[in-house]
Symmetry: C2
Subunit: 609 residues, 2 copies
């Protein structure tokens, strides 16, 4: 099958192929001698997918694209303050080979000009020059995913004719920025610039920066995240020589170019781009490289300041629990109370990545209705990543609601929100934050919890029927009067303490159970061994009839919640019923079963919708 | 209830309150005279939520924070090329009041230094000076959400003592960048700088830029998106005077400060920040403003180059259709075929915002299995926004799969993916792209479609049972032999053409239907009038029994798909059955109902899990 992404890159390549502007670097013979018409584009995602078109096998020397990597290594070795003392982060406005030292401190303006790069080369930790260079090469190689080799000819030529860089080195020595003999430091800088790679290697190096320091090839962290962030910041303002401003407005990706014809560009979090085309413009940037980056950034909407749209709310759905109640069978008095206090119990379903603005939108929405609220459920199952600031903000919300006497529960099977002592919420100086009032792995028990909280606060005496008389059980009441005695006489009483398992999935039928008191939780245990709660049954419900009547085994686990009392009709007792009682019971069960089908279909339809 | 976000901002405010460094601007008496200890922080989200702490009611003059807005107005008035001809976008490396003209063109380096700002002020369209200033003020006011007033004292003082800016104006006139008398242009620039606002206004102006040009207060677009993107780019490299590099590495938000003590910072897509504290550092930036921005950016993880983690895959779930089949009742031969060709029909559920890298990950995953594939379903119901490049990439995937003879259907109720002639896919030069092979509003019919494609290609003769004899219908087969004749004799035949509605939700019971040929689609029509397909019934299914037995009305719409043949047992016929036949039928229906309960519960459990 043809590759869509390569087809696209080929299009861009073909459109720019005939661009003839610019000239190869000629300050050393080895660079002046390279074929000037090679042109390759490569793209690497943060998870390592690589696409390349054009002359992707042609090697070239990394040259100034080495600068951000050596800067990153110096930062990793010594920390920001020590590096900052030696080299600034301000764009110079001058060409790349200007000395550009700050008048007051003598620091090179930034690490992307030669003076700054020679300074950061001097900061790489290690014993002797060989070891220091080995560390530089090891870092570049880890980013590229293979060991990079030195181009001895280019290195030799730079060493022979690099007078200007030597002058810079001695100038840095004069002002005390270099503390040692500049000759070996400048030589080491020449060696790092003469490492040879191709456009695929360069794309993988770019993707390592895009992944905040993790190699897309090996998945290993090769640079600390904070170091990469700072390096990208410097590339943004100083990476494209004196065309940085134009670059940021037209392309908007942190980038670095080299006189070897390479350009590396980074879309943080997404991908790395590499271009190779040796003809350079007056700034020293690859002509076709700049054009290709502009086109890719525009067409692929890669600009880091591009706002496709304002960020969406983190709230996927918000509703009163009364509008999507639990599937627990409530009695008429309970249903009346829940209808009456409708908006005092609410559910907020969140989704996406929670950054500050997402958490803020949740806090805002809840705050607006807090006056009316007794119980709140935050369902975070569809949330992906949660930034620390969002976590702290939601814990802060929890604390503020507690002060108002509002109960808050989470549906959070993957524990995306912390226990409260994990993180102090912003601006909170109380005596510790109360725990969440409930923490559930599925929504259904959280809905029951929410309804129960409302009934606790607002319930009437009629809600508090703890035990149903067997004659009042709806299944019995459904039978013609003349059959009821026969059925009730055949029922056996059974009690279960809280937590006892009445049956497990796969067990034989337990008989038809009429629930009189307490609750039975239905649950399924997945292949992963995790028990997932479905809904619960309350007084008035029927259970076990499925397995009894179709002779199959138990479909779900049945677990007592609270003290449970059942009236049970065993298989033998069922078979012993009088004919008319049995037919009446069957009809009643079919009717009851279809109440369940209706509820289930309704729930499913809502989810499918 | 206490405000979490304000509590957090108060914390930051309290921590920086005692910072005494810096001094107020003193180049004109009116600025030198302001109380120097005021300090306010405000934050405004793109949807208009505003938080403010400290001296939020104290007015100050906008000063240089006006520059990006006037630059944006010039861009909107004349386009990029015309503005670029007059003013560059490169950081100058010099202080804000340096003239910094490019040696070759005479252009000011960028619009954030005074020379550039005076130039952009000259570019604002309009008849006379009053009208031009009115347009400037109208733009600022639209961003701030209220009409901003002029501080006449500050304006007068600038006008009197602004010799340096006058000098800049005449210099710009000399080199031809200004084409008119500089005096009224410089005066107009003084007026724009002397507009008075408070930190809330400023936060709303920042949020307008964060929302790519839409006012958070009114929801109206006040600047074109491309103009805002370019303005943010220039702010990134040139916004914080000569500290731009330091700002990008330490804070990483496009920003602009003014000598009035204000700072405005933008997190694209999320929020705007404003700080007011008049004591300035040597660069002319508010000391506490810079410190507050650094702290907010770090703690709130707002840095635009911050990579919380590499972007996640756009694929939420991927599975063979055989592992999560449709709920259509298939016969044994069909089930065998589907098991055998298992991985040739696959479903990919996508989620989140689809940018390039997300679409690329989908293309990659599908390409890996394309050799094995006959039919593919892309379920994009959980996708939020789709960038154009992602849309084109997925259409390209569809085209490439068509070349391989692979059928592709969408579950796309909100039509997030276009009809194929909307967008030419990248690198595609064929004779037009074929339409999607199926487009569904729910997943269930797409699963049936996928199975049907597999059966078309790989089905055996045994799969092709078009019509079931009534004796072979499973419900009949379930009865004891001696009852079957009685039942079959009571059944009436009924045929329906494709699309005919057998019943609608709420209709009276139609009787018990035994489906012999064709399919019946169950559907629910929501409050919004949209019919949502549930699952389908095929030959061998039973329908209508629920409503008949519990005397209720029809739960779902029933619609014929293809030519349908039914054997129907009406209520009268049911009542006329012999006693033992009726009891046997009831037992068979209960068993059948529970097959449905099991399937439904299973489907629900999976979704709940």
């Amino acid at each position: 099958m043809r590759s869509i992404v390569e087809a696209y890159l080929s299009d861009v390549h073909a459109a720019l192929r005939d661009e003839r502007g610019g000239a190869v670097a000629d300050y050393i013979p080895e660079l002046a001698a390279v074929p000037d018409d090679d042109f390759a584009i490569a793209l690497c995602t943060t998870d390592g997918a690589l696409y390349a078109v054009g002359d992707a096998d042609v090697p070239f020397t990394i040259q100034s694209i080495s600068k951000p990597f050596t800067y990153a290594l110096a930062l990793a070795d010594h920390g920001v303050a020590a590096v900052d003392a030696k080299v600034g982060v301000e764009p110079s406005g001058d060409a790349f080979n200007e000395i550009s030292l700050e008048p007051d401190t003598g620091r090179p303006r930034n690490p992307m000009i030669n003076a700054g790069a020679i300074t950061t080369a001097s900061l790489v930790a290690g014993g002797d020059d060989e070891e220091r260079f080995a560390r530089v090469r090891a870092l570049y190689s880890a980013c590229a995913g293979r060991t990079l080799e030195l181009d001895e000819a280019v290195f030799g030529s730079e060493l022979e004719s690099g007078h200007r860089n030597r002058a810079i080195g001695y100038m840095l020595r004069t002002v005390g920025i270099l503390e040692d003999d500049p000759e070996p430091i400048v030589a080491r800088y020449f060696r790092q610039c003469a490492l040879r790679l191709d456009v695929r290697d360069l794309a993988r190096m770019a993707a390592t920066l895009a992944a905040a320091g993790i190699s897309p090839t090996t998945g290993e962290r090769v640079l600390p995240e904070a170091v990469v962030e700072r390096t990208l910041g410097v590339m943004t303002t100083c990476g494209m020589y004196d065309a940085a401003g134009d670059w940021v407005t037209a392309v908007g990706l942190p980038a670095k170019s080299g006189v070897g014809g390479g350009i590396l560009a980074v879309l943080p979090g997404q991908l790395g781009i590499a271009i190779f085309s040796p003809r350079l413009d007056a700034h020293g940037n690859s002509v076709r490289g700049v054009a290709a980056c502009q086109r890719l950034a525009r067409e692929m909407e890669l600009h880091m300041l591009h706002v496709g749209r304002p960020s969406r709310s983190a709230i996927r759905a918000a509703f009163d629990v009364v509008d999507r109640p639990s599937r627990l069978r409530r009695n008429a008095a309970e249903r009346d109370v829940l209808q009456r206090v409708a908006s005092r119990g609410r559910v907020y379903e969140l989704h996406g990545d929670l950054l500050f603005s997402g958490a803020e939108s949740v806090v805002r929405a809840v705050t607006e209705v807090a006056d009316e609220l007794d119980a709140l459920v935050l369902d975070v199952r569809r949330v992906d990543q949660v930034a620390d600031v969002a976590r702290r903000t939601l814990v802060g919300l929890r604390a503020a609601l507690a002060e108002e006497g509002i109960a808050v529960a989470l549906v959070d099977p993957e524990r995306r929100l912390p226990a409260e002592d994990d993180l102090a919420p912003p601006g909170w100086d109380g005596d510790g934050i109360p725990d969440w009032d409930g923490r559930f792995t599925a929504r259904e028990p959280a809905l029951e919890w929410c309804e129960d909280r409302l009934l606790e606060r607002h319930g009437t005496a009629a809600c508090l029927v703890e035990r149903l008389a067997v004659e009042d059980h709806p299944l019995v009441a459904r039978l013609p009067e003349e059959c009821r005695g026969d059925l009730v006489g055949a029922l056996a009483r059974r009690t279960l303490p809280d937590g006892e398992v009445l049956a497990r999935r796969g067990d034989d039928a337990v008989g038809i159970g009429l629930l009189l008191r307490g609750r039975i939780r239905l649950a399924v245990t997945g292949a992963d061994g995790v028990q997932r709660p479905l809904w619960a049954l309350g007084p008035g419900a029927v259970l076990g009839e499925v397995s009894l009547l179709d002779g199959s085994t138990q479909l779900t686990d049945l677990v007592a919640r609270g003290e449970v009392e059942l009236a049970l009709l065993t298989r033998e007792a069922f078979d012993g019923l009088e004919g008319p009682t049995r037919e009446a019971l069957l009809r009643a069960l079919v009717a009851d079963a279809y109440v369940a089908v209706r509820r289930t279909s309704g729930a499913l339809a809502e989810r499918l919708g």
